[in-house]
Amino acid sequence: MVFASYIVFWFFALYGLNPLASILLSTGILFVIGYYLLRFVLNPSIEHPEHQLTSTVLITYGLALLISNGETIGWTGNYRSLETTFSLGNLYFGQFGIPIVNILVLVMAFAATFGVYYFLYRTDTGLAIQACTQDRDAARLSGISFRKMAYLAFGISTALAGTAGALFILNHVVYPAVGLSLTVKGLTVIVFGGLGSMTGALVGGLALGVIEAVATTVLPSSLQDVVAYVILLIVLIVKPTGMFGKKFFFPK
């Protein structure tokens, strides 16, 4: 996701491309990256089940480190941010002023969520992907190529990360290490909302955002990230399936 933020930044800085347009760009680029990543690099982790857990987790963690360190080497660790014509404007509702950027981000985030929902539940390909999760062999027997669906699904998830990255840089400073805390927060949202549930992700995201906002006023600044970790742990211990989690995702 941070990589996507960098893409948007450089396109803006070097070519003056309007960040809104580059949202599509970064989403697209990351889809392609994700699709081929799973296909060529991560494939062994699908195919060798005895090492599956550790290998998947460690390879992806390794890749994450690779990317973030690569960014440090290539683009230095300096903080980057965007300044555009609309980044400073506010919209006023009576007494409350909300920055336009935030509203934009909210709208785009919802749009992306609905887009994925529509794809997953209302198109044949989407239903095919769901079939693969529910029962891999039955899906294959029905003529669905598990392999291709896996690539597609992974591609979509990286594409969404691309969108998120583009949205992120509209509002925040970006530097290579920002990925770690964001990854954890993402994990927390997913676990909190429940794996495999889109409503859960939505609710989880909003909930975490609110809780964090409250916590920032109460806690000292160095403890900020702790909030996400603590929530994560509490959820894992008390109700690992999260709020809306589908049962078949949970390993015994």
């Binding site: 060529f40 062994p44 195919e47 460690l58 390794g62 690569g70 598990f146 954890v184 390993p251």
Partner: protein, 324 residues
């Protein structure tokens, strides 16, 4: 039961290597010695960490135990409670073990990826809490000792060689004991183990705490050797990741693995640090990715034939033809 040399090959090799290393002070001092001390610190921690891998639990938090041991020592010295190094180190190991026990309780209800995430979360929480608590040193850390290292480096050297050797023997003993068998059974198939009367959670808890205590002892050693502790040098995620990389690159759950992996990884890191100023940890990531793409058994696993190389190119071509 007589000690069979053939069946305990790896243990022998490891001890021999350690013995050779142990002769170093007779030949040279300072730089090479301090490098070896660094390597052995990691090797020892990885040996302790291997215990976790024997039971099949992937943990992202070994640094938390190192920190527990190190900070216990640091606090004991700082608040003047006790200055005996041996006693403090043992207490450090003890505290780390207790931490493992206490934290393990809720965590070990989880398995697989959830457990891994949980350990990551806990390790980071511990680090951030200590970072924010001035009385525990906060971001500045605590000075443990003002020894001038170079005077006593030989003592530290022999100590760490001894610790590493002891850990290796200890893991070996555990591995062959009933505890070890139980843990291996749990790793293979938890349901089968349970049905044979092996209660998973107590054994995993024991393994987790023991592993933590071992790592904590090394942490305590580090506190004395380095002279001061602060969150980034004993509790950071980078340390956990290095231990993980060593464990898997060398060969998970093997005895020779941590030493070979330790040398390879730490040396690679040092070299990379010389050439690439920022972001040199890329090298770790690369090693790790290589392991899982090509050598899932790590170096030792591949050499002993337990886990053959995966040929990624053949894998690609097969997929195109077989098509599923």
């Amino acid at each position: 039961m007589p000690f069979s040399y053939r069946r305990n090959k790896q243990l022998i090799y490891t001890l021999v290597i350690l013995g050779v290393i142990g002769l170093t002070p007779l030949v040279t001092h300072s730089y090479v010695e301090s490098l070896l001390i660094l390597i052995l610190i990691y090797v020892a921690m990885t040996q302790g960490y291997n215990l976790m891998l024997i039971q099949g639990d992937l943990s992202f938090g070994p640094a938390a135990f190192m920190g527990a041991g190190a900070y216990t020592v640091a606090l004991l010295v700082h608040y003047g409670v006790s200055t005996n190094p041996v006693l403090n180190s043992l207490l450090g190991a003890g505290v780390a073990g207790v931490v493992g026990f206490v934290l393990g309780f809720p965590l070990l209800k989880l398995r697989g990826i959830y457990f891994a995430i949980g350990t990551l979360g806990l390790a980071e929480i511990i680090r951030l809490v200590i970072l924010s608590t001035p009385s525990l040193g906060g971001g500045q850390g605590i000075i443990v000792t003002t020894f001038i290292q170079s005077f006593n480096q030989d003592i530290f050297f022999y100590a760490i060689v001894g610790i590493t050797a002891a850990f290796t023997v200890f893991s070996h003993v555990i591995f062959k004991s009933r505890l070890g068998l139980a843990l291996a059974a749990i790793k293979d198939n938890i349901e089968a183990a349970k049905s044979l009367g092996v209660r998973a959670t107590p054994f995993r808890l024991l393994g987790f705490s023991l592993s933590g205590a071992l790592i904590g002892l090394v942490g305590a050693f580090f506190a004395y050797y380095n002279g001061f502790v602060y969150p980034d040098n004993v509790l950071s995620l980078g340390i956990s990741f290095t231990i993980l990389t060593i464990a898997f690159f060398g060969g998970e759950s093997t005895f020779l693995g941590p030493i070979i992996g330790g040398f390879a990884v730490v040396l690679a890191e040092q070299i990379a640090q010389n050439f690439i100023l920022q972001g040199y940890q890329v090298v770790l990531a690369v090693l790790l990715v290589i392991v899982f793409l090509v050598m899932p058994g790590g170096i030792v696993g591949t050499l002993t034939g337990k886990a053959p190389l995966i040929n990624p190119i053949r894998g690609l071509m097969n997929r195109k033809r077989a098509g599923h």
